[in-house]
């Protein structure tokens, strides 16, 4: 699992899976991302990221129970693995670290 790099959208998906905890499946994730980020998201993009994250070992999945609102079909529920948590933490750390290094001058637009 050398490739621990993940893209921006994948990061969103990963985080959302964590947020939704026990009910993290594609439809719910799609809606949550749309609501929270305000952008329009298609379920196919979420699918793609979910499978890729699972392949990378950051997510684990199991099948749920059949539901009538899904035409009697089961859904795949995702959960974050320890490796996934590590990836999130690293990412967050990197960001805060970088943010803290920005000198105050850089945000001072008034002079000149």
């Amino acid at each position: 699992m050398g490739r621990s790099h993940i893209g921006e959208f994948e990061e969103l998906v990963l985080l959302t899976v964590g947020v939704l905890y026990d009910d993290a499946y594609a439809v719910a994730i799609t809606k949550a991302i749309s609501e929270q980020s305000g952008r329009s998201v298609n379920v196919s993009a979420v699918h793609k990221s979910l499978y890729r994250l699972e392949e990378k070992g950051m997510l684990a999945s199991r099948l749920g129970d059949p539901e009538s609102k899904r035409g009697g079909k089961r859904k795949r529920l995702f959960a974050i693995t320890p490796f996934g948590k590590q990836a999130i933490d690293q990412m967050m750390e990197l960001r805060t670290h970088l943010r803290s290094q920005i000198p105050a001058m850089a945000f001072n637009w008034k002079t000149n």
Partner: protein, 862 residues
């Protein structure tokens, strides 16, 4: 769950087809959940539509089946590709005939596509095209209701003032002027328009603003004209001088240059100037005079429906107009929408657009289809016959478990691959060779807009059409074979298939028509070349002048030239200029063209007198006499024309002579009823000169030199009388060249098809022929054996084909030529001769091959 909303079936099938089986449940579950939710929130329609989108968006690699390992069809498809490749390599000749034939056909079919596409997109680039209308009117002219595209001058202003729905109105008037920038002096046509013109018609400007037309001193140039007068530099702010006539000259500042127009346009311009300038160029012109006409009145309304309201209340203008102009009453005003103006323009007289060429659509499409069918049938025939050489392959496939569907799929797939190859070659050939050639021949500017989705739709439908037409029957036919029969060797398919014969017959008929087409058009071309003009244009030159002093100086100058045998003055001139006047007879009015001439004009141009007399030199009393042409006499149905009188502009004229008919314009235009009257010397605007044989070019140079001395600031306006047909003969020659090329391809395809068929047939009978030869058969009997079945096919095809060709060609000539050659049978017979000799040639090659082969080799084979 009976009441559940239904998921649309088609996308669901598609989803199931591409989706990996183990993912189907969860993925489709998600889509279904979204679907049912959306039905609740947004209604069934929208939910279905969004489901469609979802299915398409989900069609990505993550959801796809793992093709290789899961799907036997893919494995089979690979195998089909391989067998296609092998069978192509095994018989390169027949494959080449198939693919190249189809490619040629597809390339040819691109021409009608591009042609029709261009016609349909003409003037469609104007953003307001739906709301712009051309004012038109119907008028009764001598019992004949005609449709006109020009309109009374004040109409535009009246419409703009009287109707709130009219957003813009614009007058358009064209005029011949002389344009001058330094030493670049040419005759040009300027278009006077109201400033609203560029607001309504969205011609994109390269430089400058459309509003520049508000300024009466501004001029807007087309890109070509900007280059002609100013080169490649930006001319904004430079000046050009417009010489309206010898008294009126005005300098304009260039305020705009148009972008190059889309190729599909009917309405365009070289120069645009503000309409107010019309008063300068013609001070007597009254813009409020209902008797005056402008070339066009364009109106833009708020929405297309408004125009019906306006056209219903046009009656008041009609009454106003007819009270002023009693002699040309208007029957009704109406409007033409810009979107369809080009299509309708062929029915409108004197309009600023030009008509679409529907005859061209039909003939090009029909010829394209002929060639396509020829090529397809080649394919079908060769596929049927060659199936016999692949019997073992098919039987083996069936034994190995291929079902009927499998075999059909194989052959259709093989077919589609070939068609796609042909499509690629054909498109390349069409866009790189055939279209440029066609454009050059007919000075068209057809183009394939490769980004146009419609074009791809056309490609795909053409590939499907050819693929299915050419492949379906062979596929079905081959799939029917009985396996055991094949292995036993008791099945002999393909040799004597009835369909093969029918198809070959149709091919020969089509080939016959295309050849006859070429022959007749070529013959007609020769006929047009030798057709008399009704007068003698050889060794005749003409010069146009602007006024009387120029005429006198020119006349004096040419009188000194020993090469000039005869000179005649005239106000109008055959082939360049005529005037339209109204003849008033006691019981009717008739529109004719008028040419005012000096007495010796007839003799100089060799116009033949048939009745009465011509004008007499220096004979005052001929002032109110006219000479008319035979056509006028025929049209008016006058028994005894000499001495008849009629009025033109309230002056009574008497007919003193009748001359034979002549072509004023080229043979594409109808001859016009004409009256000749005596021109006053101060009205002479043309000199016609008869010069000594072989000195025309010398004299032409002399005239140009003289002109430069007399009027250095004006461009020379003159030329050879023989040139007044202006490219007509070249155009005719191009037409026949094109038809010959199509005919050639037609016969080539038919010949190749026959060749392929005979080859396959002969190769399957090698043993038979060898035995015959060993037993002493002569070459002639072998030849008879081979040709027998084709001979009667040819006869049948010719019996059907010749009358069809004759009928088609007479229809063609009737539609395209105003004056065409009388139809005769010789063309059909020449076509027959060509066709038969090609067929005999094809058979002879095969017979020769068989005759020369050693029978021992033939018997040893297998």
């Amino acid at each position: 769950m009976g009441g559940r909303p239904r998921i649309p079936r088609l996308p669901q099938y598609f989803f199931r087809w591409y989706c990996r089986r183990e993912l189907y449940e969860e993925l489709h579950g998600d889509l279904e959940e979204f679907f049912y939710e959306r039905v609740e929130e947004k209604g069934l329609r929208r939910a279905q539509w969004m489901y469609w989108l979802d299915v398409i968006k989900c069609c990505q690699p993550y959801a796809w089946k793992d093709l290789e390992s899961q799907n036997s069809e893919i494995i089979m498809l690979k195998n089909y590709l391989k067998t296609t490749y092998r069978s192509m390599r095994k018989r390169p000749l027949t494959s080449a005939i198939n693919i190249l034939g189809l490619s040629f056909a597809i390339a040819i079919c691109l021409v009608p596509y591009a042609f029709v596409d261009q016609d349909l997109s003409i003037d469609q680039f104007h953003e307001n095209k739906d709301n712009i209308f051309l004012a038109t009117y119907h008028a009764d002219r001598d019992g004949d209701v005609r449709y006109y595209g020009n309109s009374p001058t004040p109409l535009a202003e009246a419409l703009a003032a009287d109707y709130a729905q009219v957003v813009e109105a614009c007058r358009v008037q064209d005029r011949q002027v002389v344009m001058k920038n330094g030493d670049r002096v040419f005759h040009e046509e300027v278009r006077y328009v109201d400033p609203s013109f560029l607001k309504m018609m969205t011609f994109p400007l390269k430089w400058g603003q459309p509003s520049a037309l508000q300024d009466v001193n501004s001029i807007i140039l087309s890109e070509d004209m900007a280059v002609k007068y100013f080169g490649e530099t930006n001319p904004i702010g430079s000046n050009v001088t417009v010489i309206f006539d010898s008294n009126n000259t005005k300098t304009f500042a260039v305020a705009g240059v148009a972008n190059e127009l889309p190729k599909a346009h009917a309405i365009s311009f070289d120069f645009l100037i503000n309409f107010e300038n019309y008063k300068i160029s013609d001070p007597a012109y009254d813009l409020n005079d209902w008797t005056g006409l402008v070339d066009a009145t364009l109106v833009q309304v708020k929405s297309p429906e408004d125009i019906s309201v306006i056209s219903e209340s046009m009656e008041k203008y009609r009454i106003l107009q007819n009270s002023v102009v009693e002699e040309r009453p208007i029957a009704e005003f109406s409007f033409e929408q810009l979107t369809t103006l080009h299509e309708r323009s062929r029915y409108i007289n004197n309009d600023i657009s030009f008509g679409s060429r529907e005859e061209g659509w039909v003939i090009l499409s029909v010829l394209g289809l002929f060639i396509l069918i020829l090529a397809c049938f080649n394919y079908v025939n060769i596929a049927i016959v060659s199936a016999s050489t692949r019997l073992k392959e098919i039987a083996t496939r069936k034994v190995m478990g291929a079902n009927r569907r499998g075999v059909i799929t194989q052959f259709l797939a093989e077919n589609m691959i070939l068609t796609l190859m042909a499509l690629v070659i054909g498109v390349l050939l069409g866009s790189q060779v055939v279209l440029p050639w066609f454009n050059e021949l007919f000075s068209e500017n057809l183009e394939l807009r490769l980004l146009d989705p419609q074009l791809w739709l056309f490609f795909i439908s053409m590939a499907l059409f050819t693929g299915l037409v050419a492949g379906l029957y062979p596929a079905l036919y081959i799939a029917r074979f009985d396996v055991i029969g094949i292995f036993r060797g008791s099945v002999k398919f393909g040799r004597k298939n009835k369909l093969t014969k029918v198809l070959l017959c149709v091919q020969l008929v089509l080939a016959c028509i295309t050849i006859a087409n070429a022959v007749y058009i070529t013959q007609n071309n020769a006929f047009q070349l030798s057709r008399p003009w009704g007068y003698d244009p050889t060794n005749v030159l003409y010069v146009g002048v602007n006024d009387q002093p120029a005429y006198d100086q020119m006349r004096f100058a040419v009188a000194q030239n020993p090469n000039v045998l005869q000179v005649a003055g005239s106000s109008q001139h055959l082939g360049t200029d005529s005037k339209t006047v109204m003849l008033h007879l006691p019981d009717r009015q008739y529109e004719v063209s008028e040419i005012a001439v000096e007495a010796n004009y007839f003799e100089l141009l060799g116009i033949q007198l048939t009745e009465g007399r011509l004008f007499q030199e220096n004979y005052e009393s001929d002032d109110q006499k006219v000479v008319v042409n035979q056509l006028l006499v025929n049209r008016l149905e006058i028994e005894d024309p000499i001495g008849r009188t009629f009025k033109v502009d309230d002056i009574r004229y008497e007919v003193v002579g009748v001359v034979s008919d002549f072509h004023f314009d080229d043979f594409d235009s109808n001859m016009v009823p004409t009256v000749f009257k005596v021109a006053e010397p101060e009205d002479y605007r043309y000199l016609a000169l008869k010069v000594r044989e072989g000195t025309t070019h010398e004299t032409h140079d002399f005239l140009q030199a003289q002109w430069l001395a007399i009027a250095p600031e004006l461009p020379f306006r003159g030329g050879f009388q023989e040139d007044v047909f202006d490219g007509y003969y070249e155009y005719m020659a191009s037409g026949s060249k094109f038809m010959r090329a199509v005919g050639f391809i037609g016969i080539l395809l038919a010949g190749l098809g026959l060749y392929g068929l005979v080859t396959l047939n002969v190769s399957g009978r090698v043993k038979e022929f060898s035995i015959r030869k060993v037993l002493g058969a002569r070459v002639s009997s072998v030849a008879a054996q081979i040709s027998k079945q084709y001979a009667w096919l040819c006869v049948v095809s010719l019996i059907i084909g010749l009358p069809l060709s004759y009928y088609w060609c007479s229809l063609l000539l009737e539609t395209f030529f105003v004056y065409h050659m009388p139809m005769n049978l010789s063309g059909a017979f020449i076509a027959m001769f060509i066709l038969v000799s090609v067929l005999v040639g094809v058979l002879a090659i095969q017979v020769r091959k068989v005759a020369k082969s050693n029978p021992v080799n033939g018997l040893r084979a297998e």
